[in-house]
Subunit: 322 residues, 2 copies
Amino acid sequence: MSLLGIDLGGTKLTLALFTESGELVHKETVLLDKTGGEATGRFIREKTNNMMKIAREKADPVQSIGVSVPGISRKQSGTVWAPNIPGWQDYPLLEELRLVSDGVPVQIEGDRSCYVLGERWQGKARNCDHFIFLAIGTGIGAGIMINGQVLDGVNGSAGSIGWMTMHPSWMEEYGKHGFFECWASGEGMIRLTKSKLNDHPGYKGPLREKEASALTTRVLFEAAEQEDSLAKDIIQTCISLWGMAIANLVSLFDPAMIVLGGGVFGPAARYLPDIQQQALKWGQPQSMPKTEITLSALGSDAGVYGAGFLALSSLQPKQSGN
Amino acid sequence: MSLLGIDLGGTKLTLALFTESGELVHKETVLLDKTGGEATGRFIREKTNNMMKIAREKADPVQSIGVSVPGISRKQSGTVWAPNIPGWQDYPLLEELRLVSDGVPVQIEGDRSCYVLGERWQGKARNCDHFIFLAIGTGIGAGIMINGQVLDGVNGSAGSIGWMTMHPSWMEEYGKHGFFECWASGEGMIRLTKSKLNDHPGYKGPLREKEASALTTRVLFEAAEQEDSLAKDIIQTCISLWGMAIANLVSLFDPAMIVLGGGVFGPAARYLPDIQQQALKWGQPQSMPKTEITLSALGSDAGVYGAGFLALSSLQPKQSGN
């Protein structure tokens, strides 16, 4: 039996075939263009169709499809709200995928849910019913599992931790991204770097060279590794914010485990001990020392694994975590 | 049928008899002395015994007992961790209450759980399965209800929002109380007032008069009402922190409702519109405007109502919210 997991991101699309036991058999990742709207829908259909064909050629046709979307899946209408894809305020993705799904079940969930489902299925949180996946990539979001169930919230927006404020001073920018995402996501780290470069006109290091066009988190992490003081200072600010955010999650949810994932972890993984130290400083003193803080085992594939698990759970509706 | 609810606070003890339908028939509130240990246990037994007698005299004997404690109830051992009662690190409250309970069921829960159960049984959140009770009194805590179930957490410490940090600068004091409780609880507001008085040596207003001995939140709220600028400034700081905390709860949990209770709401109730405005500024923009923010209908009785509901739920084990 073949399961198709589809992870739609803001900038790329990953499709993978899984076995029922969670083995990844085939994976493709392609960049999305920025067109959005129906063009993106058409592109997803094409790629889906192609994966269905590959599975048939392997004599193991797809039995079920799961899709992770960067936003909110509205189950009743089958539509998707994905703020980073132009024209996807209420996009009829379910209806469109049914055109190419050969009648197999299709289930769509928000990426925060999929991260947590993927990590529980094949990652660090197997057999763990109470944990949080904190995804720090281009943006920031948290998938929250309580008693083996994903927390959706009343409006489907639970886990919107990018909006968590950890400083009382207000800036207009926070109205667009939220405080935490504004400074401590991948894009936020670049924003923070530009702001610090502005504050230090005399600085002449590697971040200045790239300032005009090629400033990336990679450049930033490399500069810090080469002991550039401004880069180290910026990363220290982020370590502090990441640690505070983990502490706040633990004080509020008291989970067994926090799993760190997304593109930034990645290179930020080496700072895990410093992040833990910050979290221990701020968190509730009974629960914080007992909470495991760990790196995702699936890295940037957590979403597509979660989509694969979604596909499986449509076939086994009583599977825990569905 | 008579239900006995017992709300043990840090400074007082409230006992109440309820009917099965949640009508409060008889209530007594008594101050605790500061002795702690077995003396507090003996005092609770005496008062419990007395309420059992009152119920018998009304020809409606107590059928079940529920107890709210200011800390964590360890179900397996029947013991209680209550940091503000001396000697109650692991106090055998269940065993002791059984000496006077005439063989009826006794159930003990932490106060955060009881607030939320009380408010759902007889307060603002009837029929609401997704809401948070934010209790701001001497300390700060949150009771969290998800899908009709109270969130306990792995170590029983979920909802410890007093430990939520909303400022990256560290102070030793935060290790004792947590950031939010340190400044925005009842005791925190006094701490903040003393700190502001220190920063403004030229200030001669009503807060200065009471500084040495009689500084209370009541004095602070009254001074603000009389347009004292320092008092208004202090309350503005708290409004900002309360609004930020509500925003963070909504961004993370996406509940239908936030209920504000505890001794501070009370006098802070008049600032609800300002608090809402702060929350709207910081919270996740899809869910925040849809979340009802309201004042507890039960005020300082939320805990004892919750204890009454606990008593009821021992008799009706399938009651939702148990």
